[in-house]
Protein backbone atom coordinates (compact mmCIF):
# COMPACT_ATOMS: atom_id res chain seq x y z
CA UNK A 1 0.00 0.00 0.00
CA UNK A 2 1.47 3.39 -0.99
CA UNK A 3 1.97 6.09 1.65
CA UNK A 4 -0.78 8.16 0.06
CA UNK A 5 -3.30 5.32 0.14
CA UNK A 6 -2.31 4.39 3.68
CA UNK A 7 -2.74 7.97 4.85
CA UNK A 8 -6.06 8.22 3.08
CA UNK A 9 -7.33 4.99 4.56
CA UNK A 10 -6.36 6.14 8.03
CA UNK A 11 -8.07 9.50 7.48
CA UNK A 12 -11.15 7.90 6.04
CA UNK A 13 -11.35 5.62 9.06
CA UNK A 14 -11.43 8.50 11.52
CA UNK A 15 -14.84 7.47 12.71
CA UNK A 16 -16.06 4.82 15.08
CA UNK A 17 -19.05 2.72 15.94
CA UNK A 18 -20.71 4.62 18.76
CA UNK A 19 -21.43 2.73 21.97
CA UNK A 20 -23.26 5.33 24.06
CA UNK A 21 -25.77 6.47 21.48
CA UNK A 22 -27.40 4.93 18.41
CA UNK A 23 -25.61 5.61 15.12
CA UNK A 24 -28.93 6.86 13.71
CA UNK A 25 -28.92 9.61 16.33
CA UNK A 26 -25.59 10.91 14.97
CA UNK A 27 -26.44 10.49 11.28
CA UNK A 28 -30.25 10.68 11.24
CA UNK A 29 -31.70 8.67 8.32
CA UNK A 30 -34.04 11.61 7.56
CA UNK A 31 -31.01 13.17 5.87
CA UNK A 32 -30.94 10.43 3.23
CA UNK A 33 -34.53 9.20 3.27
CA UNK A 34 -35.60 7.40 0.10
CA UNK A 35 -32.06 6.39 -0.84
CA UNK A 36 -31.27 2.70 -0.53
CA UNK A 37 -27.80 1.37 0.07
CA UNK A 38 -26.48 -1.53 2.09
CA UNK A 39 -22.88 -0.61 2.92
CA UNK A 40 -21.94 3.05 3.10
CA UNK A 41 -18.25 2.12 3.50
CA UNK A 42 -18.28 1.06 -0.16
CA UNK A 43 -18.65 4.68 -1.28
CA UNK A 44 -15.18 5.78 -2.31
CA UNK A 45 -13.48 9.08 -3.07
CA UNK A 46 -11.35 8.65 -6.19
CA UNK A 47 -8.91 11.40 -5.13
CA UNK A 48 -7.77 9.73 -1.89
CA UNK A 49 -6.32 12.90 -0.43
CA UNK A 50 -5.07 13.62 3.05
CA UNK A 51 -5.58 16.99 4.72
CA UNK A 52 -1.84 17.69 4.64
CA UNK A 53 -1.71 17.14 0.89
CA UNK A 54 -4.82 19.22 0.43
CA UNK A 55 -3.39 22.24 2.25
CA UNK A 56 -0.09 22.10 0.35
CA UNK A 57 -1.80 21.95 -3.05
CA UNK A 58 -4.21 24.78 -2.29
CA UNK A 59 -1.45 27.00 -0.86
CA UNK A 60 0.51 26.64 -4.11
CA UNK A 61 -2.53 27.66 -6.12
CA UNK A 62 -3.17 30.79 -4.04
CA UNK A 63 0.53 31.70 -4.01
CA UNK A 64 0.43 31.63 -7.80
CA UNK A 65 -2.85 33.43 -8.35
CA UNK A 66 -2.82 36.39 -5.97
CA UNK A 67 0.56 37.88 -7.03
CA UNK A 68 -0.46 37.53 -10.69
CA UNK A 69 -3.71 39.43 -10.10
CA UNK A 70 -1.93 42.14 -8.09
CA UNK A 71 0.63 42.60 -10.88
CA UNK A 72 -2.14 42.76 -13.49
CA UNK A 73 -3.87 45.53 -11.58
CA UNK A 74 -0.69 47.41 -10.63
CA UNK A 75 0.38 47.71 -14.27
CA UNK A 76 -2.97 49.10 -15.40
CA UNK A 77 -4.68 45.91 -16.58
CA UNK A 78 -8.01 46.73 -14.96
CA UNK A 79 -8.22 50.13 -16.65
CA UNK A 80 -7.53 48.55 -20.02
CA UNK A 81 -10.42 46.10 -19.83
CA UNK A 82 -13.26 46.77 -22.19
CA UNK A 83 -15.85 48.93 -20.35
CA UNK A 84 -18.70 46.68 -21.41
CA UNK A 85 -17.00 43.65 -19.94
CA UNK A 86 -16.57 45.46 -16.62
CA UNK A 87 -20.33 46.19 -16.57
CA UNK A 88 -21.02 42.49 -17.07
CA UNK A 89 -18.65 41.50 -14.27
CA UNK A 90 -20.64 43.72 -11.87
CA UNK A 91 -23.43 41.16 -12.22
CA UNK A 92 -21.32 38.02 -12.54
CA UNK A 93 -19.24 38.30 -9.37
CA UNK A 94 -22.08 38.72 -6.82
CA UNK A 95 -23.82 35.75 -8.46
CA UNK A 96 -20.65 33.68 -8.25
CA UNK A 97 -20.28 34.64 -4.62
CA UNK A 98 -23.84 33.42 -3.99
CA UNK A 99 -22.93 30.13 -5.62
CA UNK A 100 -19.65 29.52 -3.86
CA UNK A 101 -20.85 30.54 -0.43
CA UNK A 102 -23.99 28.44 -0.85
CA UNK A 103 -21.82 25.51 -1.87
CA UNK A 104 -19.66 26.04 1.22
CA UNK A 105 -22.72 25.83 3.47
CA UNK A 106 -24.22 22.93 1.58
CA UNK A 107 -21.11 20.80 1.76
CA UNK A 108 -20.46 21.68 5.38
CA UNK A 109 -23.85 20.04 5.97
CA UNK A 110 -23.07 17.05 3.74
CA UNK A 111 -19.77 16.57 5.59
CA UNK A 112 -21.73 16.43 8.85
CA UNK A 113 -24.74 14.32 7.92
CA UNK A 114 -23.85 12.07 4.96
CA UNK A 115 -23.99 8.38 5.92
CA UNK A 116 -20.82 7.45 3.96
CA UNK A 117 -17.55 8.28 5.79
CA UNK A 118 -15.59 8.90 2.58
CA UNK A 119 -18.29 11.26 1.29
CA UNK A 120 -18.13 13.18 4.56
CA UNK A 121 -14.36 13.61 4.15
CA UNK A 122 -14.60 14.65 0.47
CA UNK A 123 -17.42 17.10 1.25
CA UNK A 124 -15.29 18.63 4.00
CA UNK A 125 -12.52 19.40 1.49
CA UNK A 126 -15.02 20.76 -0.99
CA UNK A 127 -16.51 23.00 1.66
CA UNK A 128 -13.09 24.57 2.25
CA UNK A 129 -12.57 24.89 -1.52
CA UNK A 130 -15.78 26.85 -1.79
CA UNK A 131 -14.65 29.23 0.93
CA UNK A 132 -11.45 29.86 -1.05
CA UNK A 133 -13.48 30.51 -4.20
CA UNK A 134 -15.85 32.87 -2.35
CA UNK A 135 -12.92 34.85 -0.99
CA UNK A 136 -11.24 35.02 -4.40
CA UNK A 137 -14.40 36.43 -5.96
CA UNK A 138 -14.44 39.10 -3.24
CA UNK A 139 -10.78 39.90 -3.98
CA UNK A 140 -11.73 40.37 -7.64
CA UNK A 141 -14.56 42.73 -6.70
CA UNK A 142 -12.19 44.66 -4.44
CA UNK A 143 -9.80 45.06 -7.37
CA UNK A 144 -12.58 46.36 -9.65
CA UNK A 145 -13.89 48.61 -6.89
CA UNK A 146 -10.71 50.68 -6.93
CA UNK A 147 -11.46 51.65 -10.53
CA UNK A 148 -15.23 51.92 -10.99
CA UNK A 149 -18.57 52.14 -9.21
CA UNK A 150 -21.07 49.28 -9.12
CA UNK A 151 -19.03 46.90 -6.94
CA UNK A 152 -19.03 48.72 -3.60
CA UNK A 153 -22.30 47.51 -2.13
CA UNK A 154 -22.50 43.98 -3.52
CA UNK A 155 -23.29 42.39 -0.16
CA UNK A 156 -26.46 44.50 0.21
CA UNK A 157 -27.47 44.00 -3.42
CA UNK A 158 -27.02 40.28 -2.94
CA UNK A 159 -29.73 40.44 -0.29
CA UNK A 160 -32.04 43.09 -1.75
CA UNK A 161 -31.60 43.54 -5.50
CA UNK A 162 -34.04 41.76 -7.80
CA UNK A 163 -31.26 40.89 -10.24
CA UNK A 164 -29.52 38.66 -7.70
CA UNK A 165 -32.57 36.94 -6.21
CA UNK A 166 -32.69 33.98 -8.65
CA UNK A 167 -29.14 32.94 -7.71
CA UNK A 168 -29.94 33.48 -4.04
CA UNK A 169 -33.03 31.28 -4.43
CA UNK A 170 -31.09 28.57 -6.27
CA UNK A 171 -28.26 28.20 -3.79
CA UNK A 172 -30.41 28.61 -0.68
CA UNK A 173 -32.53 25.83 -2.16
CA UNK A 174 -29.49 23.58 -2.51
CA UNK A 175 -28.42 24.35 1.07
CA UNK A 176 -31.94 23.64 2.34
CA UNK A 177 -32.30 20.17 0.75
CA UNK A 178 -33.39 17.81 3.50
CA UNK A 179 -31.72 14.92 1.71
CA UNK A 180 -27.93 15.32 1.53
CA UNK A 181 -27.88 13.31 -1.70
CA UNK A 182 -30.18 15.85 -3.32
CA UNK A 183 -27.64 18.53 -2.37
CA UNK A 184 -24.90 16.44 -3.97
CA UNK A 185 -27.06 15.94 -7.06
CA UNK A 186 -27.92 19.64 -7.41
CA UNK A 187 -24.44 20.92 -6.65
CA UNK A 188 -21.99 18.28 -7.81
CA UNK A 189 -23.84 16.73 -10.73
CA UNK A 190 -25.59 19.79 -12.12
CA UNK A 191 -23.64 22.87 -10.98
CA UNK A 192 -20.18 21.28 -11.09
CA UNK A 193 -20.33 18.68 -13.85
CA UNK A 194 -22.75 20.46 -16.16
CA UNK A 195 -22.14 24.14 -15.63
CA UNK A 196 -18.67 24.91 -14.27
CA UNK A 197 -17.01 24.23 -17.62
CA UNK A 198 -19.37 26.70 -19.22
CA UNK A 199 -18.82 29.31 -16.49
CA UNK A 200 -15.14 28.88 -15.62
CA UNK A 201 -13.81 27.81 -19.03
CA UNK A 202 -16.23 29.22 -21.61
CA UNK A 203 -16.63 32.70 -20.10
CA UNK A 204 -12.94 33.51 -19.36
CA UNK A 205 -12.04 32.48 -22.91
CA UNK A 206 -14.17 35.45 -24.00
CA UNK A 207 -12.91 37.59 -21.09
CA UNK A 208 -9.33 37.33 -22.29
CA UNK A 209 -10.39 38.81 -25.66
CA UNK A 210 -11.76 41.78 -23.72
CA UNK A 211 -8.67 42.33 -21.58
CA UNK A 212 -9.71 40.43 -18.45
CA UNK A 213 -6.57 38.39 -17.72
CA UNK A 214 -7.11 38.58 -13.95
CA UNK A 215 -10.55 37.04 -14.28
CA UNK A 216 -9.17 34.30 -16.49
CA UNK A 217 -6.57 33.48 -13.82
CA UNK A 218 -9.15 33.49 -11.07
CA UNK A 219 -11.56 31.29 -12.96
CA UNK A 220 -8.73 28.89 -13.78
CA UNK A 221 -7.72 28.45 -10.14
CA UNK A 222 -11.38 27.92 -9.27
CA UNK A 223 -11.87 25.34 -12.01
CA UNK A 224 -8.78 23.44 -10.85
CA UNK A 225 -10.82 22.36 -7.79
CA UNK A 226 -13.95 21.57 -9.75
CA UNK A 227 -12.48 18.38 -11.17
CA UNK A 228 -12.49 16.97 -7.65
CA UNK A 229 -16.04 18.21 -7.05
CA UNK A 230 -17.22 16.62 -10.28
CA UNK A 231 -15.67 13.33 -9.19
CA UNK A 232 -17.62 13.44 -5.92
CA UNK A 233 -20.85 13.81 -7.84
CA UNK A 234 -20.09 11.21 -10.49
CA UNK A 235 -18.88 8.73 -7.92
CA UNK A 236 -22.00 9.23 -5.80
CA UNK A 237 -24.32 8.96 -8.76
CA UNK A 238 -22.73 5.77 -10.07
CA UNK A 239 -22.57 4.18 -6.62
CA UNK A 240 -26.26 4.84 -5.92
CA UNK A 241 -27.42 3.68 -9.36
CA UNK A 242 -25.33 0.51 -9.15
CA UNK A 243 -26.24 -0.10 -5.54
CA UNK A 244 -30.03 -0.40 -5.70
CA UNK A 245 -32.61 -0.15 -8.52
CA UNK A 246 -34.99 1.70 -6.20
CA UNK A 247 -32.73 4.76 -6.32
CA UNK A 248 -33.31 5.37 -10.05
CA UNK A 249 -36.67 7.20 -9.91
CA UNK A 250 -35.48 9.45 -7.10
CA UNK A 251 -32.29 10.31 -8.96
CA UNK A 252 -34.13 10.82 -12.26
CA UNK A 253 -36.48 13.31 -10.57
CA UNK A 254 -33.57 15.22 -9.09
CA UNK A 255 -31.79 15.26 -12.46
CA UNK A 256 -34.91 16.54 -14.24
CA UNK A 257 -35.55 19.20 -11.62
CA UNK A 258 -32.03 20.52 -11.07
CA UNK A 259 -31.22 20.47 -14.77
CA UNK A 260 -34.11 22.83 -15.41
CA UNK A 261 -33.31 25.10 -12.46
CA UNK A 262 -29.67 25.36 -13.50
CA UNK A 263 -30.60 26.01 -17.12
CA UNK A 264 -33.02 28.72 -16.12
CA UNK A 265 -31.05 30.46 -13.37
CA UNK A 266 -27.48 30.05 -14.61
CA UNK A 267 -27.61 29.07 -18.29
CA UNK A 268 -30.09 31.65 -19.56
CA UNK A 269 -28.75 34.72 -17.72
CA UNK A 270 -25.14 33.77 -18.40
CA UNK A 271 -25.81 34.15 -22.12
CA UNK A 272 -25.78 37.94 -21.90
CA UNK A 273 -22.06 37.84 -21.07
CA UNK A 274 -20.59 36.29 -24.25
CA UNK A 275 -23.32 37.67 -26.52
CA UNK A 276 -23.63 41.25 -25.21
CA UNK A 277 -21.16 42.31 -22.52
CA UNK A 278 -18.30 40.92 -24.59
CA UNK A 279 -17.56 43.52 -27.24
CA UNK A 280 -15.04 41.18 -28.84
CA UNK A 281 -16.87 37.91 -29.16
CA UNK A 282 -15.96 34.28 -29.63
CA UNK A 283 -18.61 31.57 -29.54
CA UNK A 284 -22.24 32.67 -29.19
CA UNK A 285 -23.99 31.38 -26.08
CA UNK A 286 -26.15 29.09 -28.16
CA UNK A 287 -23.09 27.21 -29.39
CA UNK A 288 -21.45 27.18 -25.96
CA UNK A 289 -24.62 25.63 -24.53
CA UNK A 290 -24.63 23.01 -27.27
CA UNK A 291 -20.96 22.16 -26.74
CA UNK A 292 -20.68 22.17 -22.94
CA UNK A 293 -24.17 21.13 -21.87
CA UNK A 294 -25.73 19.07 -24.64
CA UNK A 295 -22.73 17.41 -26.33
CA UNK A 296 -20.39 17.04 -23.35
CA UNK A 297 -22.64 16.79 -20.31
CA UNK A 298 -25.90 15.17 -21.37
CA UNK A 299 -24.45 12.90 -24.07
CA UNK A 300 -21.59 11.84 -21.80
CA UNK A 301 -23.85 11.11 -18.86
CA UNK A 302 -26.37 9.13 -20.90
CA UNK A 303 -23.58 7.13 -22.54
CA UNK A 304 -22.05 6.40 -19.14
CA UNK A 305 -25.14 5.83 -17.00
CA UNK A 306 -27.89 5.02 -19.49
CA UNK A 307 -27.31 1.34 -18.83
CA UNK A 308 -28.77 1.87 -15.35
CA UNK A 309 -31.91 3.38 -16.86
CA UNK A 310 -31.01 7.07 -16.42
CA UNK A 311 -32.72 9.16 -19.09
CA UNK A 312 -31.72 12.60 -20.46
CA UNK A 313 -33.20 15.49 -18.44
CA UNK A 314 -36.94 15.86 -18.93
CA UNK A 315 -36.85 19.47 -20.18
CA UNK A 316 -33.72 19.20 -22.32
CA UNK A 317 -35.55 19.96 -25.58
CA UNK A 318 -37.19 23.05 -24.04
CA UNK A 319 -33.80 24.25 -22.84
CA UNK A 320 -32.19 23.80 -26.26
CA UNK A 321 -35.07 25.59 -28.00
CA UNK A 322 -34.90 28.51 -25.55
CA UNK A 323 -31.25 29.24 -26.19
CA UNK A 324 -32.28 30.75 -29.53
CA UNK A 325 -33.79 33.69 -27.61
CA UNK A 326 -32.86 33.60 -23.93
CA UNK A 327 -29.79 35.90 -23.95
CA UNK A 328 -31.58 38.44 -26.15
CA UNK A 329 -34.81 38.37 -24.16
CA UNK A 330 -32.99 38.84 -20.87
CA UNK A 331 -30.71 41.58 -22.16
CA UNK A 332 -33.58 43.68 -23.42
CA UNK A 333 -35.60 43.07 -20.24
CA UNK A 334 -32.59 44.28 -18.26
CA UNK A 335 -32.38 47.30 -20.55
CA UNK A 336 -35.95 48.17 -19.54
CA UNK A 337 -34.77 48.21 -15.90
CA UNK A 338 -31.49 50.08 -16.42
CA UNK A 339 -32.72 52.79 -14.00
CA UNK A 340 -32.94 50.14 -11.26
CA UNK A 341 -29.61 48.36 -11.83
CA UNK A 342 -26.15 48.68 -10.26
CA UNK A 343 -24.48 48.13 -13.64
CA UNK A 344 -24.92 50.03 -16.88
CA UNK A 345 -26.66 48.79 -20.01
CA UNK A 346 -26.14 49.78 -23.63
CA UNK A 347 -27.68 49.63 -27.09
CA UNK A 348 -26.22 46.89 -29.32
CA UNK A 349 -23.97 48.23 -32.06
CA UNK A 350 -24.01 47.42 -35.77
CA UNK A 351 -21.22 44.89 -35.15
CA UNK A 352 -23.28 43.20 -32.42
CA UNK A 353 -26.30 42.93 -34.68
CA UNK A 354 -24.20 41.48 -37.46
CA UNK A 355 -22.99 38.81 -35.02
CA UNK A 356 -26.56 38.06 -33.89
CA UNK A 357 -27.78 37.84 -37.48
CA UNK A 358 -25.04 35.36 -38.26
CA UNK A 359 -25.55 33.11 -35.22
CA UNK A 360 -29.22 33.58 -34.29
CA UNK A 361 -31.40 33.23 -37.43
CA UNK A 362 -34.53 34.70 -35.79
CA UNK A 363 -32.88 37.63 -34.01
CA UNK A 364 -34.01 40.37 -36.40
CA UNK A 365 -37.58 39.09 -36.57
CA UNK A 366 -37.99 38.62 -32.79
CA UNK A 367 -35.76 41.27 -31.22
CA UNK A 368 -34.85 43.78 -33.93
CA UNK A 369 -37.98 45.95 -33.62
CA UNK A 370 -37.32 46.56 -29.90
CA UNK A 371 -33.92 48.07 -30.61
CA UNK A 372 -35.25 50.04 -33.59
CA UNK A 373 -37.67 51.73 -31.19
CA UNK A 374 -34.88 52.42 -28.72
CA UNK A 375 -32.77 54.00 -31.45
CA UNK A 376 -35.78 56.11 -32.40
CA UNK A 377 -35.71 57.61 -28.89
CA UNK A 378 -37.88 55.34 -26.73
CA UNK A 379 -35.94 54.63 -23.51
CA UNK A 380 -38.28 51.68 -22.71
CA UNK A 381 -37.92 52.25 -18.96
CA UNK A 382 -40.62 50.56 -16.89
CA UNK A 383 -42.17 51.87 -13.64
CA UNK A 384 -42.31 48.65 -11.60
CA UNK A 385 -40.73 45.21 -11.44
CA UNK A 386 -41.89 42.49 -13.86
CA UNK A 387 -43.94 39.44 -12.89
CA UNK A 388 -41.41 37.06 -11.34
CA UNK A 389 -41.63 33.27 -11.56
CA UNK A 390 -42.63 31.64 -8.28
CA UNK A 391 -39.92 28.98 -8.66
CA UNK A 392 -36.89 30.56 -10.37
CA UNK A 393 -37.60 34.25 -9.54
CA UNK A 394 -36.71 35.31 -13.09
CA UNK A 395 -39.12 37.53 -15.06
CA UNK A 396 -41.90 35.66 -16.87
CA UNK A 397 -40.68 36.75 -20.31
CA UNK A 398 -39.53 33.53 -22.00
CA UNK A 399 -39.08 32.77 -24.83
CA UNK A 400 -39.85 36.36 -25.90
CA UNK A 401 -41.78 39.04 -23.98
CA UNK A 402 -44.27 39.53 -26.84
CA UNK A 403 -45.58 35.94 -26.44
CA UNK A 404 -44.38 34.50 -23.14
CA UNK A 405 -45.15 30.97 -21.91
CA UNK A 406 -46.69 32.08 -18.61
CA UNK A 407 -48.28 29.26 -16.59
CA UNK A 408 -50.50 29.73 -13.53
CA UNK A 409 -51.59 27.64 -10.54
CA UNK A 410 -53.98 28.51 -7.72
CA UNK A 411 -52.37 27.90 -4.38
CA UNK A 412 -53.35 29.08 -0.92
CA UNK A 413 -56.18 31.28 -2.20
CA UNK A 414 -54.02 33.21 -4.63
CA UNK A 415 -52.38 32.65 -7.99
CA UNK A 416 -48.74 31.66 -8.44
CA UNK A 417 -47.13 32.25 -11.84
CA UNK A 418 -44.37 30.36 -13.60
CA UNK A 419 -42.15 31.30 -16.51
CA UNK A 420 -42.22 27.84 -18.11
CA UNK A 421 -43.55 24.29 -18.06
CA UNK A 422 -40.36 23.29 -16.23
CA UNK A 423 -40.87 25.64 -13.30
CA UNK A 424 -44.57 24.77 -13.06
CA UNK A 425 -43.74 21.04 -13.07
CA UNK A 426 -41.29 21.54 -10.20
CA UNK A 427 -43.85 23.50 -8.19
CA UNK A 428 -46.54 20.88 -8.71
CA UNK A 429 -44.19 18.17 -7.40
CA UNK A 430 -43.13 20.13 -4.32
CA UNK A 431 -45.67 22.90 -3.72
CA UNK A 432 -44.94 23.31 0.00
CA UNK A 433 -41.26 23.83 -0.70
CA UNK A 434 -41.69 26.30 -3.55
CA UNK A 435 -44.71 28.25 -2.35
CA UNK A 436 -42.83 30.08 0.38
CA UNK A 437 -40.87 32.52 -1.79
CA UNK A 438 -42.42 35.96 -2.21
CA UNK A 439 -41.20 37.74 -5.32
CA UNK A 440 -39.85 41.27 -5.02
CA UNK A 441 -42.48 42.40 -7.55
CA UNK A 442 -45.10 41.59 -4.90
CA UNK A 443 -43.06 43.01 -2.01
CA UNK A 444 -42.58 46.32 -3.84
CA UNK A 445 -46.10 46.72 -5.26
CA UNK A 446 -47.19 50.35 -5.38
CA UNK A 447 -43.67 51.75 -4.81
CA UNK A 448 -42.27 54.31 -7.22
CA UNK A 449 -38.85 54.05 -8.84
CA UNK A 450 -37.13 56.10 -6.11
CA UNK A 451 -38.60 53.86 -3.40
CA UNK A 452 -37.63 50.70 -5.30
CA UNK A 453 -34.06 52.00 -5.66
CA UNK A 454 -33.98 52.78 -1.96
CA UNK A 455 -35.19 49.27 -1.09
CA UNK A 456 -32.49 47.77 -3.29
CA UNK A 457 -29.79 49.97 -1.72
CA UNK A 458 -29.00 51.77 -4.98
CA UNK A 459 -27.37 55.13 -4.42
CA UNK A 460 -26.20 57.97 -6.64
CA UNK A 461 -25.78 57.45 -10.34
CA UNK A 462 -25.69 53.65 -10.41
CA UNK A 463 -27.38 52.07 -13.40
CA UNK A 464 -28.28 53.85 -16.62
CA UNK A 465 -26.60 53.72 -20.01
CA UNK A 466 -22.96 53.12 -20.87
CA UNK A 467 -22.23 55.71 -23.53
CA UNK A 468 -18.82 54.43 -24.58
CA UNK A 469 -19.40 51.04 -26.15
Amino acid sequence: MSNQTAEYTRTKRLYWEPSYVAKEAIYPPANYEGIHFSDWDRWDDPFHMSFKQYVEIQAKKDNGFHPARDAFDRYGGTDKMDPRWVEGMKVVYPILFHGEYGALRSHARVSRYAPAPALRAAAFYQSIDELRHSQNHVYQMRMFNRHTDGFANWAEWKRHHFLLQPAKMLFEDIVACENVFESVMGLNILVEVAYTNLVFVGIPSVGVLNGDLAGAGEFLTTQSDETRHMAIGQSTLRTLLEGDDRNLPVIQYWLDKWFWLLHRIIGCPLGVIPDYFAKRKALPMRQMFQRYIVDNYVAGMVEDLGKYGLQPPRFLDDAVAEMEDAPHTLFRTLFQYKHMLFNKMFVPTEADMEFFGEHYPHWEERHGAFWDEVRAGDPKDLPSLPMLCQVCQLPCVFPVPERPTIRGTEWGGEVRWFCSDGCQWIFEHEPERYSKAVGLDRVLTGKDVAQIREHMHLSGKLGGVLEEC
Binding site: R332, T333, P383, S384, P386, M387, I406, G408, E414, T445
Partner: protein, 77 residues
Protein backbone atom coordinates in the same frame (compact mmCIF):
# COMPACT_ATOMS: atom_id res chain seq x y z
CA UNK B 1 -56.99 44.74 -5.77
CA UNK B 2 -53.76 43.15 -6.90
CA UNK B 3 -53.84 42.08 -10.56
CA UNK B 4 -51.13 41.51 -13.12
CA UNK B 5 -51.72 42.79 -16.66
CA UNK B 6 -50.00 42.04 -19.94
CA UNK B 7 -50.77 42.69 -23.60
CA UNK B 8 -50.19 40.55 -26.69
CA UNK B 9 -47.34 41.76 -28.87
CA UNK B 10 -46.04 44.11 -26.18
CA UNK B 11 -42.37 44.01 -25.16
CA UNK B 12 -43.27 44.95 -21.57
CA UNK B 13 -43.51 41.97 -19.20
CA UNK B 14 -46.63 41.43 -17.10
CA UNK B 15 -46.74 44.11 -14.37
CA UNK B 16 -48.55 44.02 -11.05
CA UNK B 17 -51.14 46.79 -10.68
CA UNK B 18 -53.41 48.00 -7.89
CA UNK B 19 -56.79 48.99 -9.39
CA UNK B 20 -59.95 49.69 -7.38
CA UNK B 21 -62.59 46.92 -7.21
CA UNK B 22 -65.30 49.16 -8.60
CA UNK B 23 -63.40 50.05 -11.76
CA UNK B 24 -65.02 48.52 -14.86
CA UNK B 25 -62.82 46.07 -16.77
CA UNK B 26 -62.80 48.48 -19.72
CA UNK B 27 -61.39 51.34 -17.64
CA UNK B 28 -58.66 49.15 -16.17
CA UNK B 29 -57.74 47.87 -19.63
CA UNK B 30 -57.22 51.42 -20.87
CA UNK B 31 -54.95 52.27 -17.93
CA UNK B 32 -53.10 48.96 -18.22
CA UNK B 33 -52.38 49.49 -21.92
CA UNK B 34 -50.81 52.85 -21.11
CA UNK B 35 -48.76 51.50 -18.21
CA UNK B 36 -47.57 48.62 -20.37
CA UNK B 37 -46.71 51.08 -23.13
CA UNK B 38 -48.59 48.88 -25.59
CA UNK B 39 -49.25 49.80 -29.20
CA UNK B 40 -52.92 50.82 -29.12
CA UNK B 41 -53.45 50.67 -32.87
CA UNK B 42 -54.61 47.03 -32.76
CA UNK B 43 -57.77 45.98 -30.94
CA UNK B 44 -57.34 43.70 -27.93
CA UNK B 45 -59.87 41.80 -25.83
CA UNK B 46 -59.62 41.20 -22.05
CA UNK B 47 -59.23 37.63 -20.72
CA UNK B 48 -58.67 36.07 -17.34
CA UNK B 49 -55.44 34.21 -18.14
CA UNK B 50 -55.95 31.51 -15.48
CA UNK B 51 -59.49 30.52 -16.47
CA UNK B 52 -59.29 31.46 -20.14
CA UNK B 53 -62.60 33.31 -19.76
CA UNK B 54 -63.22 36.43 -21.86
CA UNK B 55 -64.28 39.33 -19.65
CA UNK B 56 -67.25 41.65 -20.10
CA UNK B 57 -65.82 45.19 -20.39
CA UNK B 58 -68.66 46.63 -18.30
CA UNK B 59 -68.17 44.30 -15.31
CA UNK B 60 -66.54 45.85 -12.23
CA UNK B 61 -63.16 44.23 -11.54
CA UNK B 62 -64.36 43.13 -8.10
CA UNK B 63 -67.10 41.04 -9.69
CA UNK B 64 -64.99 39.55 -12.52
CA UNK B 65 -63.91 36.47 -10.54
CA UNK B 66 -60.28 37.42 -10.02
CA UNK B 67 -58.21 35.84 -7.27
CA UNK B 68 -55.37 37.86 -5.73
CA UNK B 69 -52.48 38.11 -8.23
CA UNK B 70 -54.57 36.90 -11.18
CA UNK B 71 -53.49 37.97 -14.65
CA UNK B 72 -55.63 40.01 -17.00
CA UNK B 73 -54.41 39.41 -20.54
CA UNK B 74 -55.18 41.77 -23.37
CA UNK B 75 -55.22 39.47 -26.38
CA UNK B 76 -55.36 40.49 -30.00
CA UNK B 77 -58.95 40.43 -31.29
Amino acid sequence: MLIYARADGCSTPALLMTPEEEWPVKMFCRIALSTLRADKSRERLPFNSRTGEQLDPATPLGEAGFLPYDLLELRYA
